[in-house]
Each structure stands twice: as C-alpha cells, then as structure tokens.
C-alpha cells in the first residue's frame, strides 16, 4: 500500500509569516491528515545548518516520537559557489553530501534527496557513508527530466541555465546495480507528469505582462511534444505574436515527457516520491473531491501500484509563490491545499 506523507516545504509561507512552527506542521499531518510521513528541507528547518545544536536534534527526534511520525526524507542541496574563491570541486561536493547524510542519520531520516544536477561521481563517493549510516540517497527526477533516456538537445536550457542530463536516471540505476546496493535510488517528482502551465503561474505571468493567448499556445505546443524554446518562439512569431509576447517561449522547456507506465519499471529503485502540486480545485460534479488540473496523478499512481510501490508520496505544494505579489488577501491557503491533496491521494491509492 502506498503511504501518504507531507514535505513541510508545503507550509513554507505559514513558516515565513510565523503562523505555523515545526510542531504545528507535524500536528496538522497527524491530527488532520491522519498520516505519519514527514519530509523537510534541511536549510528551511535546521537552525544553523549544517551544524545544529544537540538540543535541536534532540527536540526534533522527540517531536517525531511524540506524534509517532516517520522521518522519511530530508532534501539536501549543492551550492557550488559556497567557497566563493573557487567552484566547489566534486570531492568537496561529496564532503557536503556526506555531512548531510550524517546529519540525516542524527535526525532519524531514512533518506536524503539530492538534486538532479548532482554529478553521479559525487553520489558514488558518498555511497559508503550512506551504507554505513543506513541512509538512502535518492536522486530527484524533477521536471524537465525524464525517466527514460531521451534526445537531450530537444530540450532548451531553462531560464535558470540548469544543465539537463538525458541519461540521469539510467546513471543512478547503473550505479545501484553495479554496487548491488539499495542505498542509492530515485525520488520521482510528480511534476514530471505536468502537461500544461499551472494556473497560479499562468495568472502570475499574465499579471506581469504576458499575453494569455501566447501562454495558451505554449500549452498547445507542449502538448504536441515541443520542448525547445527557439522552436516555440518561432511558432509564436509565425502565429502573429509580437517579439514581446514571445518572451515567454522559455516556459516550454519546463515540461518533462514521461509515460506514466515508466514508473512501474523503476519501482525497485524508488526511495520516496515528491507529490508536487500547484492548486487543488473541486472535480466538476463531484463535491468534496479535488484535483490539480495541470498534473496527471491517476495514471502514475495506477502504475506505481502495478509495480508494487509501498513507499511514501510526500505532498509538495508549490502554488503559493505565484500569489505572493498581490498582498495578504490573495495568498494561497497552504493547509487547505494539502488537505485537498491528501483527499485526492487517498482516493487514488484506494482506487
């Protein structure tokens, strides 16, 4: 049976405004979502990362025990410019990951999530520590990455310039097989099943000057398999949109292209799953049932069940950031969004 959990990332806005603390979040998961999976962002929750006090660690463990929570996954990062006088070497990157694994073990976490762009040799260098401390390393499959290898140059670099390795998942699977270990695997993010711009982002872009018709055309092009910004840009211009309107062409590079069935094949390698979502709205004609209209959840969960996945899907609400330019009255209700997401997860898991 697939288990439900929450990445406390989902409550980042409540934390920012100091309306919820760590305890409030854990209590919400326990009391109202009636489940036990907890995921955290290291640098959002751990005071004075990477060297928290012993008191902080003890309090965290006590809190998990008090509510019978499972510390599932802690999300760790790779800031390559940390030292400022040189780009972090791979050896230094491995040292950071090793430190994070030890910290995860101290806090009682089963897994660390590392990022798509972490080179595989850094993970390999940290693997003995993961095995020694009993903490799995899960590499995230975040949009626009795919599960199966693909033609990399079809994808444009995103606005952020993030490099994208079309063989990322295969590299992880090959490493796990070569070392015959369960301590390295994958953390798929449900955002890879997003097939159109999410509504909060759509509205944000329009408020900041984008032409909604151009955005709709991006959705249509994405549906037709286009992933390259230059091609999207040319298509927009050819359809009469202005140079200014075509500036949003880069959005096309943010989508993955994954067959939900691909999940079944990687189940043995899945460490945990990020349940990314942006906005839960009521399913038309079905009061009390909710969906994110930009992401397919039903088919991926079906194939996870076919593959016998019995780990966690941890809600990762991300719709709040696109409403924070409008003042307090228009902000997302994170607690309600996550409750709706769990209504949907529970329904699909039981289906």
């Amino acid at each position: 049976m697939i288990k439900r959990g929450v990445s406390l990332y989902s409550y980042q806005q409540e934390q920012f405004f100091k309306r919820m603390n760590l305890r409030d979040m854990v209590k919400e998961v326990h009391d109202n979502l009636k489940t036990d999976g907890i995921e955290i962002i290291d640098q959002a929750m751990i005071h004075q990362y990477p060297f928290p006090s012993d008191d902080f660690i003890a309090e965290f463990r006590d809190l998990m025990d008090e509510f019978n929570m499972k510390a599932v996954t802690i999300d760790v990062y790779l800031d390559t410019l940390q030292f400022r006088d040189h780009v972090m070497t791979h050896k230094e990157g491995a040292e950071r990951l090793i430190r994070d694994i030890k910290l995860a073990a101290k806090l009682g976490f089963a897994n660390v999530r590392c990022l798509c762009a972490v080179p595989i040799d850094i993970i390999e260098m940290a693997l003995p520590t993961a095995e020694e401390y009993g903490v799995k390393i899960g590499k995230e499959i975040h949009a626009p990455f795919n599960i199966k290898p693909d033609v990399g140059d079809k994808y444009s670099l995103r606005a952020s310039g993030m490099p994208r390795n079309p063989r990322m998942c295969d590299e992880v699977i090959e490493l796990a097989d070569k070392k015959n270990t369960k301590f390295v695997g994958l953390v798929p993010d449900m955002g890879i099943f997003q097939y159109r711009l999410n509504e909060p982002n759509f509205a944000y872009l329009v408020r900041h000057g984008a032409n909604p018709d151009a955005l709709r055309m991006i959705n249509r092009l994405a549906g037709a398999g286009i992933r390259h910004a230059d091609i999207a840009r040319e298509a927009l211009l050819a359809n009469g949109f202005s140079e200014a309107d075509a500036k949003i062409a880069g959005q096309i590079g943010s989508f993955s292209e994954v067959d939900p069935k691909d999940l079944k094949d990687i189940v043995p390698y899945i460490v945990s799953i990020h349940g990314k979502f942006y906005e839960m709205t009521e399913v038309p004609g079905r009061p009390g049932e909710y969906e994110d209209v930009s992401i397919d959840y039903r088919n991926p969960i079906y194939w996870l069940k076919q593959g016998g996945y019995d780990g966690y899907i941890n809600s990762e609400f991300e719709g709040q950031r696109h409403k924070q330019d409008r003042g307090m009255d228009y902000m997302a209700n994170e607690v309600e969004e996550v409750r709706r997401h769990h209504e949907m997860l529970a329904r699909y898991i039981a289906e």
Partner: protein, 151 residues
Amino acid sequence: MFDSFLIRDNSLENVVKDGKVVGFRFGVRIADYRGCILSLHNGYYVEVDGVVYPREVQKFEINGKPPRSFEELKTCVWEHWDYDDEGMVYVEKEGGLAPGKHHIGLQQSVLCAYGYMATDEAWVKEPPIPGEGAGSGKTNVICYYDLELQK
C-alpha cells in the same frame, strides 16, 4: 517569491553613529524557501526615490553580529542565514533619509544553486551585480515598496 514581503514595512529607519546620521536601514527576509550559507549572499539592488545605492555602500547584519560588508560575507562559508530570520540591510548615506514616505526598489542576490551551472567560473571571478536578475534566486524582478521612515 514573497515579492510583497521581502522588506518589513515598519522597519525603515535612519542610522545614527556618534550623534550623526550616517545612513538608513531596513529589515529583510530571504527570497527563497530555504536559508542560505552566508557566503552566497551577494548584496542588493537598492533604489530609494530613484537613487541607486550600490553593494559597496551596503552592509548586512545577521546572527547577532555587527553589520558586515558583502566582501566580508564572502568568507563566511560555514555560517548560515536561517530561513526564519530577518536580516538588516544598512546603507551608507550621509544625513540619511528625510522624514516621510519613500519609494524603495529591492532585488536580493543570493548565489545559491541546484548544482553546477554554466555561470559558476564567471561568478567566482566576477559575481553578478544585483539588479540585473542574474543571481537573484527565486525573485528575479525588482520589488517596490512604499515605506514610512520610522525614525
């Protein structure tokens, strides 16, 4: 992220040193969902009533330590700016700001990353100048605030 909330709205005040007003300051939060290693904090685009105050006249106060320049912060490779914490941005300006409302534009530069980027080597040699969007993390627009000088 947090576009409307990066500066605390009742935090703008002049800074007095040895009986003289030497500048102004305001409280800021990080424009991200996580804190950052302090060395990665690369300064601000600060514009007040149309005048831009560059990184060289800015200091940042955090973790109970005196305000530090962004050159000093570069060496703080093991110190953390926690997500929950407010920092204070100090700007040198002889005489400070006049009483009343001020129109402030802000863009924060934090060079945190999700792994190796094409810009890494260039940014070691020459970090981006705040205000151009590069290195601005999760909020790459300039956010504007109308703030009343408190004192």
